[in-house]
């Protein structure tokens, strides 16, 4: 239990699940909690330390997820994920991944994606689910039943409203505005409008001192795509000059677009390696220029290098004989920014066929190792093995006929068995599992890779059912 101090008053600031079960609540006097529960472990609150930790977390998210990240003090982080979710595989995978990543570090987190900052704030705090995504346009429906404490109002306003009998946001928003404003000031109406998206609430992105950022403000708002492209080009030149003085290259550049109606948009361009190549960066940023909605005009463009790495100048080899090795990373960058998955396949130490191919980053070092087997392998593998009906002599003859996807085939030739043992160090259920693989060829020359689960004798090794796993070319 964490205890905060204000003057001589000590109250509970945070509790864990066990303390909650024992009856402690946030906001109750610390002495009362101590009286209720014996053996309570008290920790003094450290607001400054918490703020620092959250800021560090926010900077990590800035590099990881989206260009526009800000602190939602005292206990939250708000991000504008519009236009950045496809890089995380969509909204749900991105948010789940984020919450899981935090949990991996021992942090309890709840996440919500909604149309406005206010509603996301309220939904994340007022519901018990860890990950919630409110579809576009359904914010009003989602927040109606939330308590008024989630409205980001001062605590005395909340208690004052509670005295008047208001419990939920829906009740409050259905009440005439004028008496409320007279009684509690304009704050209530403003927070309600922000939650329902009637009032814009731009997120002021967090920045650190060592972040390289170049910006340009326009006296006249700009809007045409060509003009935007021109200024992006100028910003990239400035950014690269700034990077050059530090000997750094950019891994991730964020373009933030400030519109005249006080809303933000952002574009993010990532690269596989550190670059300081002006045409390449300009091309990456301009490739998604059609996603910018200039509205009534853009008054400021700001370009920040959110992720930088030391960049080594290399002299390009100018040889007449040697074949130039083409660097494909610019191509990969443009794919990556469009959300395509790129990978190379590399051997993994495993005898189980579906496990012995692993995906590695396309720019990872080429190790040159190879699959050890000399047995022919099928060129296409089914995502999961499919059941087939066979007629076969046990224990170690290839099938004489098989029925796959409703078509019966007579097997002319067969090779095998190639025995694959289960990997008990991966899954304990594979302790005794065995697969016998055969390659078989039917009358028309179609070749398949089939296996029997089990060695055909001992039922402990498998069910003796047959599966088709791959197709030979």
């Amino acid at each position: 239990m964490v205890v905060s101090r204000s003057g001589s008053k000590r109250s509970v600031a945070a509790i864990d699940a066990a303390a909650f079960k024992a009856g402690a609540r946030i906001g109750m006097p610390a002495a009362k909690a101590q009286a209720m529960i014996s053996g309570l472990h008290l920790v003094d609150a450290d607001p400054a330390g918490d703020a620092l930790a959250i800021e560090r977390l926010a900077l990590w998210m800035l590099r990881q997820y989206t260009p526009v990240v800000a602190l939602d003090s005292p206990d939250g982080i708000v991000m504008d994920t519009e236009g950045a979710d496809h890089l995380g595989g969509g909204e749900l995978p991105m948010l789940t991944g984020l919450v899981n990543a935090l949990r991996g570090h021992g942090l309890q987190a709840r996440g919500a994606i909604a149309d406005t900052w206010g509603s996301a704030h309220a939904i994340a705090r007022a519901t018990r689910r860890q990950v919630i995504i409110v579809p576009v346009g359904e914010t009003a429906k989602a927040v109606v039943n939330l308590p008024i404490s989630s409205l980001r109002l001062p605590s005395d306003t909340v208690s004052g409203l509670a005295v008047l009998g208001f419990r939920t946001v829906g009740e409050l928003s259905a009440t005439p505005r004028a008496p409320l404003t007279l009684r509690f000031g304009p704050e209530v109406g403003r927070r309600l409008d922000q939650m329902f998206g009637r009032l814009a609430e731009p997120i002021d992105p967090i920045r650190t001192a060592d972040l390289i950022e170049v910006a340009r403000s326009f006296s006249e708002p700009i809007g045409a795509a060509e003009t935007i492209a021109k200024y992006i080009g100028e910003l990239v030149v400035e950014l690269c000059a700034a990077l050059e003085t530090r000997g750094q290259g950019v891994r991730r550049a964020d373009l933030i677009i400030y519109r005249v109606d006080n809303t933000l948009q952002s574009l993010r361009a990532g690269t596989a390696k550190a670059v300081r190549d002006i045409p390449h960066l300009t091309k990456l940023l301009c490739s998604s220029i059609e996603k910018i909605d200039p509205g009534f005009g853009i008054e400021k463009l700001s370009l920040a290098a959110t992720m930088i790495e030391p960049f080594e100048e290399k002299q390009s080899i100018s040889s007449l004989v040697e074949e130039t090795i083409v660097d494909v990373t610019p191509l990969l960058d443009s794919f990556g920014n469009r959300g395509q998955r790129m990978y190379r396949l590399a051997p993994v130490e495993s005898d189980v066929p579906e496990r012995n191919v692993g995906r590695v980053s396309p720019i990872s070092a080429k190790l040159g190792q190879a699959w050890p087997t000399r047995w022919p392998r099928p060129s296409r593998m089914l995502a999961r093995p499919e059941r087939i009906e066979v007629i076969a002599l046990t224990p170690d003859h290839p099938p004489a006929s098989m029925t796959w996807r409703g078509k019966r085939r007579r097997i002319k030739r067969g090779d095998g068995p190639e025995r694959v043992f289960g990997e008990w160090w991966v899954r304990s259920s594979e302790m005794e599992a065995v697969r016998d693989y055969y390659s078989v060829e039917d009358e028309d020359g179609n070749r398949f890779w089939v296996y029997r689960s089990g060695d055909g004798v001992d039922p402990a090794t498998g069910t003796a059912k047959w599966f088709l796993h791959g197709i030979y070319g």
Partner: protein, 251 residues
């Protein structure tokens, strides 16, 4: 003709005509199979680099694309440089490609969720230049798209291979639609080479050259790619059937 060759206007015109015909690829601009019978059927003596080629499987392989993928792997294995392989269904088994001579370090897979993205990626790869080859697994290849791809390949000199693969066998009739591809192949499996002992010998394919720009159609019975990606003309006729089929020309 030395007189016309001396005239720059005429020689340029001749060059242009040759370019339009696509037949006069200069030496080094084709990727030959190393088999005289096949190379003789191809204008320039091999598969033109800087061009789009189309390969599809025949029969059941129109859906699986297993033999067609290996045939393509064998072709691109003989190029130099990185290979980009654009696809939507990640079911290629890399050890098999390695056995066809295509080392896994050379291949970068670009996986997209949508078919249209594959076309876009394919074109972008072809325009990039400097790659060994670009392969894309495509269901649909409209005329306009194929012309764009062909132009992109011509501009960069990269060989592009569209590996056509359909969802259903009935859709394979789409392969009859015209495209701008320079050559068009259909690879069907044949019973493997007989062995003196029980077992499966080297795989054999029927490679049909359905269309070749400025060339003639042909078909060959070939042995599947060896460990360096080379195919061979099949020494055996098909199990006592139809002896006349080998490299007969029906064009």
């Amino acid at each position: 003709m030395p007189i016309t060759a001396a005239n720059p206007v005429i020689s340029e015109l001749q060059d242009r005509i040759r370019r339009h015909e696509g037949g006069a690829a200069r030496k080094g601009e084709v990727l030959s199979f190393g088999i005289a019978e096949i190379d003789a059927k191809l204008p320039g003596g091999g598969l033109a680099r800087g061009a789009l080629h189309e390969v599809a499987g025949g029969g059941a392989d129109a859906v699986h694309g297993a033999a067609a993928a290996l045939f393509v792997a064998g072709i691109v294995a003989r190029t130099k440089g990185d290979i980009l392989w654009c696809l939507t269904r990640p079911d290629l088994f890399a050890p098999a490609l390695a056995q066809a001579g295509l080392h896994h370090d050379r291949v970068i897979y670009v996986e997209a969720d949508r078919e249209e993205d594959v076309l876009t990626n394919f074109e972008e790869c072809l325009r990039f230049g400097g790659l060994g080859a670009v392969v894309a697994e495509l269901v649909r290849l409209p005329m306009t798209a194929s012309r764009r791809l062909q132009l992109a390949a011509e501009a960069s000199g990269t060989i592009g291979i569209a590996l056509r693969r359909w969802r259903r066998p009935t859709e394979a009739a789409d392969f009859g639609q015209p495209t701008a591809a320079t050559t068009r192949w259909r690879i069907s499996v044949l019973p493997s080479e007989p062995l003196p002992v029980p077992g499966i010998g080297r795989a054999r394919w029927l490679a049909e050259l359905i269309r070749a720009r400025a060339g003639e159609a042909a078909e060959f019975e070939i042995g599947a790619c060896d460990a360096t990606g080379r195919i061979s003309l099949s020494p055996h006729a098909r199990d006592g059937q139809d002896q006349t089929r080998g490299s007969r020309n029906f064009g």
